[in-house]
Symmetry: D2
């Protein structure tokens, strides 16, 4: 069995922590038991914390509400950085005034983009004979549309008109319970990209823009260098790869995607090496 | 513009012809006009002909009926070789007596496998707590199931039990009218393969086993060597690549997937070089 | 630990055996100890045997000599089927009289193609201003040329003239001793294909044409159906995948690439399932 | 033919310009004729400029010298941001004191890393029995080593010891004259990554970290927002993709990789859409 360290003994040496959410702070059953201690400890030590999530289906406010409802008052909207926010930044800079962003996802996922003053239109509501106003396309969420009908419609829209396509969640699947997974919008986007042969723009860990957004947020709160920040995640290819590449120290926790008995073999076979390994992010 | 030859001047030099169906003999509007002349010419010249199709959604009998209904009496079931047949061959040899093949597709697509004495079960009818009898899995057709529900269910079945997975149609999309395409089962299979990280077995052009099946059928009718057979198709990566690799001479026709104005650029950029290029497979 | 069966108890039920060579009959130290017993047993039982190898660097005669020199008189050239032979078949059918096949590899690897009456020219000897006579290109062996100079020269040749490119050995690396591997010509070909963006023709396991060649050879000796043949190999993605797909029963042996402690995890994670698992192909 | 705009009419609206070097400012024959006018114009208008290059073979000082030697006094080392600098940043943050970075490349390419106080060791000088001090690996340049010997040695080093691997130049090839290209270190790295099955860390356009480095440099000189910066490049997949994704306006110039007659087809088929298209970056 792999040798782990206590999370407390590590985190105390940093000025700020970036947390992945699923598998680190919560799982399909709810909060990771004891995780509230971690936030109380960080508050006492005046260590800043931020959540980095490849979730573009909800606004930071909605994501924060989940924690508030479970008594973790520390996780507020301003602590949450999502790949949906990076996508929104992009659309704000690149979509012309008055034009629309077509999307696959729920109304919730699009609502967030609209808060930036952008127009959106669900693929199911598009008239393929009236697409002049559509300037960009976003893959936001795997729910909210009919897969067969609307993915095919999206393909034909993208064949009719050349436009920038953004994938706001690059995860390929996500757990729905102890045993089962569900296909994430990232996989659907990969399939469409291969069929139409174009190059999509991807946001979300391990991409540097996600870490940049979080780093800029941290800089608003404290003066901190990259090597004074700890990235904590349960997935080698997103959390640890992205954190390492951005120059952060990284902790792999074994409370999520990467099972204790597989951790060493996954690290060896992937070549993605966390700075530390901990059982979980719980401070006992 | 690319220089083409008359199909008659080429085909007369061969003992047998392998035809791709869609884009060569028919398109979304029906038979390619004049194609019946081709079959009458081949009959007069005693040149044998066979259809090779990456279509696993229907039996040869059902595929042949389409031609019969349109007056092409020459295209009978025994002239048709489909990737569904190669898949059925595989299941006959490899699935144990009494066990089942799970599938995504229409009942029609599964019915064909059942004619070989095999049991099949649609993914939607599977009880994930009772899967001992399921020994193999087939991707057959993009219709006949709920994409969201059943593709996710297929993924969780394949995570629960390790079994051979066959992709009986490797096309990534197909035309539904002049302008639009629809995602083919091959793309859905590629997505599932990537998510679960396993290696699927693929049948259909350009794979050699498809050509082997057709060649063995031809040998039942005549004594013919590979270089006495002409492969006729509209798609470089399946028809022409597969034919070349199997040692056949090949004709690219410009009546389907490969448009006349793009033919030369596609050949140059792909490095897949047909022996000949013809406007169509019609014998004037 | 995985449960294995004795090779003798399995092989006795078949009319013919296809052996992979490296990791099954020999390794970097020489013959697998005791393997000669296997051939004597097969001879006594009148079970036919053939070697299928992704080795295009030597002729069957040269490959057989290695076994003869070590006292295995049973392995003669007519028992050996190599991916180089499939490539030679292709060139015989597709290269015009008088034209040349350019190649990367040793003179030995090209000599074999020349025995079929074809002309060859090593990349290092090509004058890039005189390439009209070059009709096809072959990746044969990782030795016999300067990697830096000649791979770059090959790329520029293939950019200047569109021609069919054959990869006669699709292995990506090969062991040179207990610990170390060496890059195989298949990896160099993959790199060149990606750089020039074209589609190469690949021969060798798991491709069906390799198995077809061996099956046709077997049919010259005996009347045998596919499910009466046993494929024996140490590598899931080539030997076992290819054998399964061709409809053969398969044995994974643990004397080569797939280590005993990793066999089950490799089978589970790849979804490539051998019919049987044996310690080795040695008949005690 | 595609409609282009004059570079002057566009660039005048921005506070800063990011230039790709090869194909924009220079080509294999030397400086792009007239490009010095562009720098003089930008100086007059007080528009800042920076060079972003996927070149990790030389230090900014050496890269700047090339321009100085040709009379472009404006291009000084502090204006140049290379993927080698991003790699050096990474090593400074992640490699422990006293440990070494193994590399493939020239001594020049490694010298630059050493200026940050890091130790380096060329693969050819490594003793594979004494690798405890090697903590990281860098692909720097395609020259300076024996491809056959040293790439194989690198593979066996990376199999013996798990370490982070950085690819400091992700280009797959580069032009050596009007007609010919040469394999870049990025392609060699891709090949090694595939053989050993690990995940390498890639720096250089289109990756966001390259743009972040340049943006941080610009912020030292002026107060500028992302949408006040213009990225100018000749390659859709690196310059334009990366610039768009980072939120910059982009200009595709037709003086390099993307030929005028192919520009529209490349844009349509890739889905990578520059904000503007110009014949060149020359201000007349």
């Amino acid at each position: 069995m792999i040798r782990t360290k206590s999370f407390r003994s590590i985190v105390k040496n940093y000025k700020a922590v970036f947390f992945d959410a699923f598998g680190v702070l919560k799982n399909h059953q709810g909060l990771i038991p004891g995780i509230i201690n971690t936030f109380e400890y960080l508050d006492r030590k005046e260590i800043k914390y931020y959540l980095l999530t490849n979730d573009s289906s909800r606004s930071p406010e909605m994501l924060a509400q989940w924690y508030q409802d479970r008594g973790v008052r520390q996780v507020t909207a301003d602590k949450i950085l999502s790949s949906g926010m990076v996508a929104m930044e992009y659309f704000k800079l690149k979509v012309s005034n008055g034009n629309s962003v077509a999307y696959l996802g729920t109304e919730n996922s699009a609502h967030y983009i609209e808060t930036a003053g952008l127009k959106t239109v669900a693929v199911k509501n598009i008239d393929l004979n009236d697409i002049d106003h559509i300037e960009s396309f976003a893959f936001l969420d795997d729910e909210g549309f009919n897969w067969n009908e609307d993915i095919n419609k999206a393909i034909n829209l993208l064949r009719k008109k050349n436009m920038a396509v953004v994938v706001a969640n690059t995860d390929i699947n996500y757990p729905v319970n102890q045993n089962d997974v569900s296909i994430a919008i990232g996989s659907l986007a990969d399939m469409v990209e291969k069929i139409i042969g174009k190059s999509f723009i991807r946001f979300g860990k391990p991409d540097a823009q996600m870490f940049l957004l979080a780093y800029e947020r941290a800089l608003q709160d404290i003066d901190v260098k990259r090597n004074e920040i700890l990235m904590v995640g349960d997935t080698l290819h997103t959390d640890i790869m992205g954190g390492n590449k951005f120059g952060l120290d990284t902790v792999l926790v074994l409370s999520g995607n990467t099972l204790p008995e597989m951790a060493q073999i996954r690290i060896s076979s992937s070549g993605i090496i966390p700075t530390f390994i901990c059982e979980s992010a719980v401070v006992e």
